[in-house]
C-alpha cells in the first residue's frame, strides 16, 4: 500500500480513542497503514481541513457530518461515515448553586431526567419572577449532539431553550473555567471535562446523556465521499484497524494501556486516571465523591457501537428541523440517512453485529415522547409544542 501517511484530524476527547489506539498501538501498522494524527482546537477547523482536503479523514461530531453533506450552515461537501468512533459519552454538569436549586425544586429523584427537567422549569420560572438573568448553558457546537441533548431534555420539562435560557457555544477546554467563573451555570460536554469539573469541586454531574437517550451516536469517522471512492484499499484498512482498536479498548485488561495512550501529552494531555474512569463508566458525580456507574456511558467497541445506524442520522436530522437549522424535506432526510454507511462497515469488517441486549427497540430510547420512527419524522416533530421553524420552510 502507498506509504503516504493518512492525515487524520482529531479533537482531544476520550471518544478519539479508537483513532489514537489504532495509530499508537500497532493496529494501523498491522493493516499496512501509516496514520498521522493531527490535534485540532476547534470543530470548525476539523470540518474545514477535511472539506478542503488537508485531512483525509476526521474525528467529527456526527451532526457536522450530516450538516456538511446537506450544506447546512456552511459549504456543502458530501461526506460518508463508515464507522462510529463513539456512542454516548456526554454528560450534563451543573454548578453547585444550580444543583442545589434543582434539588430543592425536584419532585422525585433528580437522577430521573423527567424530574430534573421539570425542576429546571421551576427554577427558570422563579428566576424570572425574581428578575434574575436567565440561566446560561454551554455546549460545544451549533451542530452538536450536546446542543440537541440539552434542548431535548429541557424542552421535555417545558423549558424553551431559545426563550427561557441561553445556550452558548464554548470550546470544551474552556467549559470548566467558564463554570468556575460563573459565565455558564451548566454545560453539556464529552469526557473528560465533566470529571475535571467534579474533581475541582465546582460542578455536579446531573446526567449522563445515556439517561436522556439510551443510544446516541456521538463522534464518527468522516471522509469525503469522492476520496473514499478513489481510495478503497486505504478506506478498508482504516476501518478494519479502527474496528480492532475499538474491540481492544473495551477489554478491561487493556484499560490501563488505553488510558496511558490517550493521556499522552500529544494526545489528550490529561491524567490517565480520568480517562480510565470514562472507559469503565464509573464516574465521580459530586465533589464529595458520590459515584454513578453506567454500562452505557461511553460505547466505543461494544454493543455494536461502531456500526453506523441510519436511524441515528434520521433522529439527528429531526433535531435540526425541530430547532430551525434545516427545513423538513423528504430528500434531505434521505440524504442525511445516506451519510451513515452500515453497508460499508459490514462489507469491510465482515461483521454484522447482533442487536445488543437491552438496546432500545427504536434504536434511540429517548426518555420522553413516543418511539422514534425514521419513516415518520413529521409525526415525531408533531408531538412537541416547543419547536422552531427554519427560515423558508
Amino acid at each position: 500500500m502507498n506509504a503516504d501517511p493518512l492525515r487524520i484530524g482529531f479533537i482531544p476527547l476520550c471518544d478519539a480513542a479508537a483513532l489514537i489506539v489504532a495509530a499508537d498501538h500497532g493496529f494501523a501498522a498491522a493493516e499496512g497503514l501509516s496514520i498521522e494524527l493531527v490535534r485540532e482546537v476547534s470543530w470548525s477547523n476539523v470540518r474545514d481541513k477535511l472539506n478542503i482536503g488537508l485531512f483525509d479523514a476526521a474525528h467529527l461530531l456526527a451532526p457536522v457530518a450530516i450538516a456538511s453533506s446537506l450544506g447546512l450552515g456552511h459549504v456543502q461537501v458530501p461526506l460518508i461515515v463508515p464507522f462510529n468512533l463513539g456512542v454516548n459519552g456526554n454528560a450534563i454538569t451543573v454548578s453547585p448553586a444550580l444543583h442545589a436549586a434543582l434539588a430543592g425544586a425536584a419532585e422525585g429523584e433528580l437522577t430521573d431526567p423527567a424530574v430534573s427537567a421539570r425542576a429546571l422549569a421551576q427554577v427558570v420560572a422563579r428566576r424570572r419572577e425574581a428578575g434574575q438573568a436567565p440561566l446560561t448553558f454551554g455546549m460545544t457546537f451549533p451542530f452538536s449532539t450536546h446542543n440537541y441533548q440539552l434542548r431535548f431534555w429541557m424542552a421535555a420539562g417545558g423549558v424553551d431553550p431559545d426563550e427561557d435560557v441561553r445556550l452558548v457555544v464554548l470550546p470544551p477546554p474552556y467549559m470548566v473555567e467558564s463554570l468556575k467563573n460563573g459565565h455558564v451555570d451548566a454545560f453539556c460536554v464529552g469526557a473528560p471535562w465533566n470529571s475535571v469539573a467534579v474533581d475541582l469541586g465546582i460542578g455536579h454531574i446531573l446526567h449522563f446523556v445515556s439517561e436522556i437517550l439510551t443510544r446516541a451516536v456521538e463522534k464518527v469517522l468522516a471522509l469525503r465521499a469522492p476520496w473514499a471512492e478513489a481510495h478503497p484499499d486505504k478506506l478498508a484498512a482504516l476501518v478494519r484497524a479502527l474496528d480492532r482498536a475499538a474491540a481492544f479498548i473495551e477489554a478491561p485488561a487493556n484499560h490501563d494501556t488505553v488510558a496511558a495512550l490517550l493521556a499522552a501529552p500529544h494526545r489528550l494531555d490529561v491524567p490517565a486516571e480520568v480517562v480510565r474512569r470514562t472507559l469503565v463508566g464509573r464516574l465521580k458525580v459530586t465533589p464529595d465523591g458520590a459515584v454513578r456507574a453506567s454500562d452505557g456511558y461511553l460505547l466505543v467497541g461494544r454493543a455494536g457501537a461502531p456500526r453506523p445506524d441510519p436511524v441515528q442520522a434520521a433522529w439527528l436530522y429531526a433535531q435540526m428541523v425541530r430547532w430551525g437549522q434545516a427545513p423538513m424535506r423528504p430528500h434531505l432526510l434521505a440524504a442525511a440517512q445516506a451519510v451513515f454507511r452500515p453497508d460499508l462497515y459490514e462489507a469491510l469488517t465482515g461483521r454484522i453485529p447482533e442487536t445488543p441486549v437491552g438496546a432500545p427497540a427504536d434504536g434511540i430510547g429517548a426518555f420522553a415522547g413516543g418511539p422514534f420512527d425514521p419513516a415518520d419524522v413529521a409525526g415525531h416533530l408533531a408531538q412537541w409544542s416547543i419547536a422552531r421553524k427554519a427560515p423558508g420552510s
Binding site: 482546537v41 470548525s44 477547523n45 450552515g73 451549533p142 470550546p171 474552556y174 459565565h183 437549522q325
Partner: protein, 194 residues
C-alpha cells in the same frame, strides 16, 4: 465606501493582531477593533456589529463564531462564512496561512477579497518572522554548546581554541553529524566522567 467596513480581529497573539491591524489601517480601513480576550466573545462582537470578523485558526473560540449563523433572538443580522463553493482557492490559502474570515450576509465578495488577501499575507509574514526568530534562537544555542565543548577539549587536551574547533569539525565530518551534535556529545561525556 469600503474603508468604512467595520472589521473585528480575534487573535490571542497581540503581536500578530497588531501587525494585521496596522496593515488594514495602512490600506485605509479606519474601523478596526481587536479582541485578545475570549471571555463573552459573542456578546462583544454583537456590540461592535462588524461587517467582517477575522480569527486565527489556533483559536478554539472559532467554534463560538459558528453560532453567529444560527437563528437566534440575539442575532441582529445574519453573518455567513466568506467562502462559498467557488472560493476553494481562497479558503485553502487562508487555512494554509492560519486565518479564517466571516462576513455579513450580502456583502459582496469583491469588497472582502482585499481584506482577506491582506490577512493572508500578514499572517504568512508573521509566520516567517517567527520562523526566523526560532532559527536565530537555536543558532545561538548551538553556538553556546560549541563554545562549551571547545572549552572542555581545550582543558582536557591542552589545545588552542582553533585546534579544539578543528577537532570538533573533523569528528562531525567523519560521523556525518552536525558540529553542535558532536559538541553536545563532548559535554555529556565530560559530565559523565566528572
Amino acid at each position: 465606501m469600503d474603508t468604512f467596513l467595520k472589521i473585528v480581529i480575534v487573535d490571542e497573539n497581540p503581536i500578530r493582531a497588531a501587525i494585521l491591524e496596522d496593515g488594514l489601517r495602512e490600506a485605509g480601513y479606519v474601523q478596526v477593533v481587536r479582541f485578545e480576550e475570549m471571555t463573552n466573545l459573542l456578546a462583544r462582537i454583537y456590540a461592535v456589529d462588524p461587517d467582517v470578523v477575522l480569527i486565527d485558526l489556533e483559536n478554539p473560540s472559532r467554534d463560538v463564531l459558528e453560532q453567529m449563523f444560527q437563528v437566534s433572538r440575539v442575532v441582529k443580522r445574519p453573518i455567513a462564512m466568506f467562502v462559498d463553493q467557488s472560493d476553494a482557492d481562497s479558503i485553502r490559502a487562508a487555512v494554509d496561512a492560519g486565518v479564517s474570515a466571516y462576513i455579513v450576509d450580502g456583502l459582496k465578495k469583491e469588497r472582502v477579497k482585499p481584506i482577506l488577501d491582506m490577512c493572508i499575507s500578514r499572517f504568512n509574514a508573521f509566520a516567517r518572522l517567527q520562523d526566523e526568530l526560532e532559527r536565530t534562537k537555536s543558532a545561538l544555542e548551538e553556538r553556546k554548546t560549541i563554545d562549551r565543548a571547545k572549552g572542555v577539549l581545550m582543558r582536557a587536551k591542552n589545545l588552542s581554541e582553533e585546534e579544539a574547533y578543528a577537532l570538533l569539525r573533523s569528528a562531525a565530518m567523519n560521523e556525518k553529524k552536525k558540529i553542535a551534535e558532536i559538541a553536545q556529545a563532548v559535554i555529556t561525556a565530560a559530565e559523565l566522567l566528572k
